[in-house]
Symmetry: C2
Subunit: 410 residues, 2 copies
């Protein structure tokens, strides 16, 4: 009954090198799924700095509230993630289930409960069978491996059709460092200063403040520029663990020029992760990149781009391979940002369709129709007001989305 792998999945998945100081284990705990791993832990050595960005939803899950609290300490030792149950809207019991998980993991791995980070995604409003997690921890401890990236990425999947792993390398003070990440998510995706579940690990020697600062700016250019269906999850969580095992001096300031190369690599990695989520959007058949220029400021450009990306009419037209650019005009108009109909220029697949508020004279739709048949759709909108710009990624809206979401619980 598993849906087929998204046609937009990358042709190959990168092999991730070990990061000194972090090991993984996964386990079929039977929380919701049968015959597959649905529980994952990552255990980091003492001295690992952690930063995170979480959903702004006002009905955030119990694990999100716990992460928010634990991030204050800046030290990350254990990550516990289950798939199939979101532990959201589960009242005091849900809060207790997270606390019990943190306490048990702290005992098992010799750290403080505040150094344990828990994430859960899946059905909302059903009690998490936390005892299944507690019972699994001792077994999982014996199975920890530096190499188990792929199994870890698979264990956190819900409606995802492929595991999402990304890797980059950079140099800090001449020393090589590695940044690895994996994430999940394909529906209820419209991150608001957070994301679905995404985890980044590096051996760089960074303070928690530096990690936090880099994540916050990096998220704004990656996960916060991506949407599947405009529905912001209650569980969005991005955490980054820096084990500090690399051979360079400690960096405590995100503005330090020594980590310029690292920051660029991290930004790239976050963007690639965000794009992988859009490529696995529920029912997706087209990956869409929307570039808006000429807006009043960057934030305005982003709002216009998201208005296009979240428009069901734009998304269904693309699913139908219809170059219906009038719907892009509509979405620009409803965004609420300054726009001037008579300066608006729209291009699809690099072909300029409108300029100065009208279709260009002699507009020939043929190359645009050909572009619409491809898997990657490029939309460029110049608002013609000022210099604000933004790029946003999304996918089309198809019958597959309706199929998946008409019967998710059953």
């Amino acid at each position: 009954m598993a849906p087929p792998v998204s046609p937009l999945a990358p042709a190959s998945t990168p092999a991730l090198a070990p990061i000194p100081g972090v090991r993984f284990a996964s386990f079929a705990a039977g929380i919701r799924y049968k015959a597959r791993a649905d529980l994952m832990i990552a255990v980091c050595d003492p001295g690992t700095a952690v930063g995170g960005v979480l959903t702004r939803s006002l009905t955030a899950s119990a694990p999100v509230l716990s992460c928010r609290d634990h991030l204050k300490g800046g030290s990350g030792r254990v990550l516990v993630v289950n798939a199939g149950n979101a532990n959201t809207f589960t009242g005091r019991q849900g809060v207790k289930d997270v606390a019990d998980t943190c306490a048990a993991a702290a005992r098992e791995f010799g750290c403080k409960p505040e150094e344990v980070f828990v994430s859960s995604t899946g059905t909302i409003g059903v009690r998490l069978p936390a005892e299944k997690i507690l019972n699994a921890l001792p077994q999982m401890k014996t199975a920890l491996s530096e190499a188990a990236w792929m199994d870890a990425a698979r264990a956190i999947m819900t409606t995802d059709t492929f595991p999402k792993l990304v890797t980059r390398t950079a140099k800090i003070g001449g020393a090589p460092v590695t940044i690895n990440g994996f994430c999940k998510g394909s529906g209820m995706i419209a991150p608001d200063m957070g994301t679905m579940l995404a985890y980044v690990f590096t051996d760089a020697k960074l303070s928690a403040n530096a990690v936090q600062a880099m994540l916050a700016t990096g998220t704004d250019k990656s996960f916060n520029c991506m949407t599947v269906d405009s529905d912001t999850s209650t569980s969005d969580t991005l955490l980054m663990f820096a084990t500090g095992k690399a051979a360079h001096d400690a960096v405590t300031d995100a503005g330090d020029p020594r980590i310029q190369d690292f920051r660029a690599a991290l930004d790239e990695l976050l963007i690639e992760m965000a794009q992988l989520v859009a490529r696995d959007g529920e029912g997706a058949t087209k990956f869409i990149e929307i570039r808006v220029t000429g807006a009043e400021h960057d934030q305005a450009a982003k709002r216009i781009a998201l208005s296009i990306a979240n428009s069901p009419l734009v998304k269904t037209a693309i699913a139908g391979e219809d170059a219906n650019w009038g719907r892009i005009v509509m979405a620009v108009g409803k965004a609420g940002e300054r726009a001037d109909r008579d300066k608006l220029a729209i291009a699809i697949g690099g072909v300029v369709i409108t300029r100065d508020g009208e279709p260009v004279p002699g507009y020939d739709e043929t190359p645009v129709v050909a572009h619409m048949k491809g898997q990657k759709i490029d939309i460029d909108v110049d608002v013609g007001i000022a210099k604000g710009k933004a790029t946003v990624w999304t996918c089309d809206l198809t019958h597959g989305y309706i199929d998946i979401n008409g019967s998710y619980r059953t």
Copy 2:
């Protein structure tokens, strides 16, 4: 190829009584459709007051810009509406096409161009063949009829599956007055201080200011509380014409106690019209009423209700008859308004599912599952913060919406 009539269409359409002072004609002008009327005119006697509410879209259509200008005069003599072409994003030519139409109608019917109101809906970005309208006017003049409500309502339809007509009566100063309205719209529906196309006619003797004031408040409780797909149209237009033929003294102030009964009837009529649009939402199989109470203020309640109504995950779950109330929790959380997870109460079909931030003990889904199989879905959300409340109407999101919008232009 016409889609079947919405299963949510009313069992019968009311017969509308004539309104003294207004006559209609419709005509198959071949603007886009074949073998059906796609052009409608209404001609009002001298002395008719007009008010209107228009889209706030920043890429509003040429006819909307013209209506905005002409509303300043407060006098309405001719209404010209075509279906199939939105005359939106058509540059200076589009503006000229509207001006030419106003000039021609003014000549034909002996009024000023500023007393002519034009509306167009349909495809965006294609030049309107205005000469087809100009050529039709003389013939249409000979066909004007006080009784032709149904034909008028049919001529303005695009993807609508049924004509939408509503009638009310009221008394002003003891004299009976009639209020008739018709409207169209089933996609690109998320009115923002306007609506799709909706026209109201009354024989009440009202000043343009009074009409305008009543429309503005009435719209906020009706069309602005309705959404199909969150996509705000570039053409939303609501106009109300008051011919002044009724046997009561003129009323110039919307606050006048003599028109209390009239206002109540008008509000009812606007709500019924808005509900008819939601009932004809593209692909709709369920009509959904969402009542939010206990919010910080009424505007916050409306934002929360619209967040639920526009959530593709909520709408697809309802299409699948899945009582997935966790998605309502998600939509409350993403609305950005004050909410307290631990006070949130949700009921579907009158059955309380959650209270105090948890499922109610012993929650039995059976009656809710039965309710989900019906055509009218009732959702009640109490936020538990203060006294703000709002009611919003929408429809579900089905394969039909994808079918209709994947190939609208072809």
